[in-house]
Symmetry: C2
C-alpha cells in the first residue's frame, strides 16, 4: 500500500488511518492466533455433532445485511466463527465422519498450503513462477513412480502430469483434447457424430462434463452394470455398443473407466476395456479419484493393470492422499494434444522462455489461466512421510474397514450388499432376509436418518442395481479403531430402537 498524499483532500477526509493490508508483524501475531484456533478445533472436533443440525437460512438472520463501513476486531471475528460458523459446519474432519468419501488431511499438506498461499505466485507460464512449474513436474513424476505408471506418463519419459482442481476439470481437458483431435480430421460440423462412453456407475460429473464440451446428449452412452459383475463396466457390452455406433456411422470418441466408483468403489477392468477402446481409437481416461491413492501399495496396484494402454489417468490426492482440497492429479500420454486444444498465446504473456526454450506453460494444460503453487502440498506430503508411511496410511484405513466388515458380518440382521474392495463398506439392514425392495429401502432410510440425527456419526447412502444401501466410508484423518467400534455400537443401538418401534 502506498502512503497517503496529504495534498489530496479526498484522502485526508478518509475516516480511517493510512491502511496496510499486510504488515509482517501484525500478520505474524494474527496467524499464530489462527494456528492455535485451528489446533484447538482439531483437539475438540470430536465434541461437535458431525452433521450440522441447523435449519436452512440460519446464518442470514445472524449476520448484518451489508459489510461494515469501519473495521472490526480480529477477536470479534474469531468469536463469531466459533458462535455462528462452527454450528453450521458439517465436520468433514470429524473422526466420526463416514459419509461420501473422506477428505483426508495432514500437517504436511497444511504447511504446504500455507506456503502456497504465502507465496501467492501465479504460475500460468514457466517464467511467471519457474519453481512452481518445475516442482509440479517433479512431484507428478514422483507420484507416477509410486503408482508404477509407465514412462509414457512421465516428464522423464514422453508424457507428463498436471495438477487440476477437480476431476471434472481434468476430464474436461482430456475430453477436449480428444474431441479436437478427431474434429481436426472429420470437421467441426460433424460434432454431432461424436460418441462418449461411461457406465451407470461413472461419476455424475461425466455426463455434465460431456455436455459442457458440446457432446450431443443423445450421444452419451451409459453402459448398464450388474450386481453379478460387482457393478463394473462390461468390456463386451462396451464393444457391442461401439460396434453399433460405428454401424450407425457415428464416431466413438472417449471412454471414462473408473477405478473405485463413487457409490460402491466398483473397479472397471481397465486392461480389457482398453483393449476394446484401443481397437476403435477411442481415448480412454481412467478416473481413479478415490482408489488411485491405494495403488501406491503393491497389493492394490493390480487395479491399474492395463494403464499402459490408456490415454489419461486422474487421481485426487484430496480424497485419500492426505492433501486437503482441492487437488486432482492428471497424467496424459500425449500432452501435445492437450496443449494444442487448450493453448493461448496473448501478446502480454509472450516471453523468450516460452518461445525459445520450449518450457512447460501449465496454462495450456488447464481450463483457466491463473494457477496456484499446488505442488508444494504434494511435495511436503511425500517428503514428510515417505512412501512407507503413506502405504501404512492406506493399509490402516483398509484395516479399519475390514474390522467394520467383521462387525456387520457378525450380526445376522445385516447383509453386505457389495463386496468390499477398499475402505468403503456397502451394507443394509435386512432383519428378516426379505426381498421387498421398497420395504427395505424405507427401513434403511429410517435407520440412516435415526443414526445421523444423533450427530454422533455421519453416514450416507446410495442406490445401485435397485438396491438402497448404507455406505460406511472409513478414512477421516482422525478416525481410530475406537470410532469405528463406537459407530457400530450406535448403528446397533439405532437398529434396536427402530425394530422395536416397528413391532
Amino acid at each position: 500500500m502506498g502512503s497517503i498524499d496529504a495534498n489530496n483532500g479526498a484522502y485526508t477526509a478518509s475516516p480511517v488511518a493510512p491502511f496496510k493490508s499486510l504488515d509482517p508483524e501484525d500478520f505474524r501475531k494474527q496467524a499464530h492466533r489462527m494456528v492455535d484456533f485451528i489446533a484447538d478445533y482439531y483437539k475438540n472436533i470430536e465434541n461437535y455433532p458431525v452433521l450440522s443440525q441447523v435449519e436452512p437460512g440460519y446464518l442470514r438472520s445472524k449476520l448484518p445485511e451489508t459489510a461494515p463501513y469501519l473495521p472490526e476486531s480480529f477477536e470479534n471475528i474469531l468469536n463469531d466463527i466459533q458462535k455462528d460458523i462452527i454450528p453450521g459446519m458439517t465436520h468433514w474432519l470429524s473422526p466420526n465422519f463416514f459419509a461420501y468419501f473422506p477428505a483426508t488431511v495432514s500437517s504436511a499438506a497444511f504447511l504446504g498450503e500455507m506456503l502456497c498461499t504465502g507465496f501467492n505466485s501465479v504460475g500460468f507460464n514457466w517464467l511467471a513462477s519457474p519453481a512452481a512449474t518445475e516442482l509440479e513436474m517433479v512431484v507428478m513424476d514422483w507420484l507416477a513412480n509410486m503408482l508404477k505408471l509407465p514412462e509414457s506418463f512421465m516428464f522423464s519419459g514422453t508424457g507428463g502430469g498436471v495438477l487440476q482442481g477437480t476431476t471434472s476439470e481434468a476430464i474436461l481437458c482430456t475430453l477436449i483434447a480428444a474431441r479436437d483431435r478427431v474434429l481436426g480430421e472429420i470437421g467441426v460440423e460433424n460434432v454431432g457424430k461424436l460418441v462418449v462412453y461411461g457406465s451407470d456407475q461413472t461419476h455424475s460429473f461425466f455426463i455434465k462434463t460431456c455436455k459442457l464440451a458440446g457432446i450431443f446428449p443423445c450421444n452419451i452412452r451409459i453402459i448398464p452394470t450388474t450386481a453379478e459383475a460387482n457393478f463394473s463396466m462390461c468390456p463386451s457390452a462396451l464393444r457391442k455398443q461401439i460396434e453399433a455406433d460405428v454401424a450407425d456411422e457415428l464416431v466413438p470418441l472417449f471412454l471414462c473407466a473408473t477405478v473405485g466408483t463413487t457409490s460402491t468403489t466398483a473397479i472397471d477392468p481397465v486392461s480389457l476395456l482398453a483393449e476394446v477402446a484401443n481397437e476403435f481409437n477411442v481415448w480412454i481416461h481412467v478416473d481413479a479419484a478415490y482408489a488411485g491413492s491405494a495403488c501406491i501399495c503393491p497389493e492394490f496396484r493390480q487395479y491399474l493393470d492395463g494403464v499402459e494402454r490408456v490415454d489419461s489417468l486422474s487421481l485426487s490426492p484430496h480424497k485419500w492422499f492426505l492433501c486437503f482440497l482441492d487437488c486432482c492429479c492428471l497424467w496424459v500420454r500425449k500432452p501435445d494434444l492437450m496443449v494444442r486444444a487448450l493453448s493461448t498465446n496473448p501478446e502480454y504473456l509472450k516471453n523468450k522462455r516460452s518461445e525459445l526454450d520450449n518450457v512447460v506453460d501449465f496454462k495450456d494444460w488447464q481450463i483457466g489461466t491463473g494457477r496456484r503453487f499446488r505442488a508444494l502440498r504434494l511435495w511436503l506430503i511425500m517428503r514428510s512421510y515417505g512412501i512407507a508411511n503413506l502405504q501404512s496410511h492406506i493399509r490402516s484405513d483398509v484395516q479399519m474397514a475390514k474390522m467394520f466388515e467383521g462387525f456387520v458380518k457378525s450380526d445376522p440382521r445385516f447383509e453386505i450388499v457389495v463386496p468390499r474392495a477398499f475402505s468403503l463398506l456397502c451394507f443394509r439392514l435386512n432383519p428378516l432376509g426379505g426381498n421387498n425392495a421398497i420395504c427395505l429401502e424405507l427401513l434403511n432410510k429410517k435407520l440412516l436418518e435415526l443414526i445421523n440425527s444423533t450427530g454422533r456419526v455421519y453416514m450416507t447412502h446410495t442406490k445401485v442395481g435397485g438396491v438402497y444401501m448404507l455406505r460406511f466410508a472409513v478414512g477421516a484423518t482422525f478416525t481410530e479403531d475406537r470410532h469405528v467400534y463406537a459407530a457400530w455400537e450406535l448403528i446397533k443401538e439405532c437398529t434396536n430402537a427402530l425394530l422395536k418401534e416397528n413391532h
Copy 2:
C-alpha cells in the same frame, strides 16, 4: 488413522512406527514455525530478485528422481525451500512487482484461507456444509451491495452470486447456461449457428472458453478496436456484426464485455453494448476481473453503469481485493438457467434439504462437484478492513499510478500510449518522437529486458493497435511510493545506458 493390528504380519513388518498424519500438538508446533517462515519471507521479500533468474530445468537436477521411502525432517524441508524453491520464484508479492496485474493479499485473507483449509469442508451441496453455502450467499450479497449492483443480482433480490476459481470457469458456466437455453429452443443440432462476440481486447481465455463449450471457431466474432476509442468495443460495430449474422441465419448468443482489459484496462461501454445485446436477446457477460474492485469507490462506479441490463458479471478479488488466489465472484441474474444447465442429481448426494427445502446447492453453479469454503476469505477481508479501508486501498494504488504517470510525463523521451484509467500505465520510450513501429518495438523490448535483468523490478509489455508498449501495473500489496520512485529511477538509468550504447 487407525491403530495398527499387531496380528497382521504385513503391518508389523512396516519399517515405520504407527503413523498419525495430523497430531494436533505436532500440527500446532509446525504451523507456528511456518507462520514465522512466511512472516520472515515478507520482511525480506524486497531483497530477492523480483523475476527469478534461474534457467529452465534448474530444479530437476537438484531434486532426487523419486520420493523418499522414509520420512524427512521438517527442518530439512524448510531449508530446501529456502535453498531450492525461493531462488526459482518470481516474487509476485515483491513491492517491486509491476508486471501483469498484481495479485493482492492481506492478513485477513490469509487467516480466512487458513481457516478454509483447516475446516476442509467440501460444500458441494447445502447439507454437506450449511455454513459454507450460507456464508457464500451472504458475502456475495455484501459485495454486490458495495458495488451497487441491482437487486436482480442478489439473493436478497431475484438473482445470486457464487465463488469460482477463475474467470474462465465463470464465463464457461454462463456461456453454457446461455447456450443450453437457446439450444433448448432451436435444437442441439443447430449448435453450429450459435455466434459469440468479444473484442480484440477481450482476454485470451474467451476464445478458449468458447471452443471448450463447443462454439464453432468460425462463429467466434472478434470486434476490432481502435486507439481513437481507447481500445474499447464499439457498440455500432457490434450491431453491424450481429445484424450481418442474423441476416446469415445465424443465432447471436453471447457477448463478453470487459471493464478493464488485460492489456491496457480499456473499458467497454456496458450500457451501450447492453442496449444492442438486449435487442437481439444476446446474453451479456461483463468481465471486470481487475477493475471491478475499483467500482466499490463512487468515483469509479460509473464504469458499471448499465449493469442492470446485463445477464452476468464477474470480478476476481484475487486481483485487486486483497484476496490471494484463487477467487472469482460471479453474479447472475437468472440462476435457474445456470442450474438447469449444470445440475446433477446422483443418488448418493440426494437428501431431504435439497429436495424439500429448496436450498442452494452450489455444485449446480459450477463445473466441478467438490468446492472449498472460499467465502471465509472475503468475509474476513470485508469485516477486518471495512468498506472505508477497502476504498482507501484502491485509491492509494491509483494515487501511486498517478504519481508514476507524472514521472513519465515529465521526461520528454517517453510517451504515454493509452490514457490511464486505473492503476496501470501503458507507455513507451520514444526519444526522437519517431513513428517507426519496428524500431520503437526493438528499442522498448531492449529497455524492458535491461530493466528486468537487474532483478530490481519486474514489468511486462503488451502490443495493442500495432504499438509495442511497456506496462507499469501498480498495486502489489507491499508497494509504497518509494518503490514506484525507485522503479522510475531504474527505468531512467536503463534508458540512459541503452541510449548511450545506441549512439
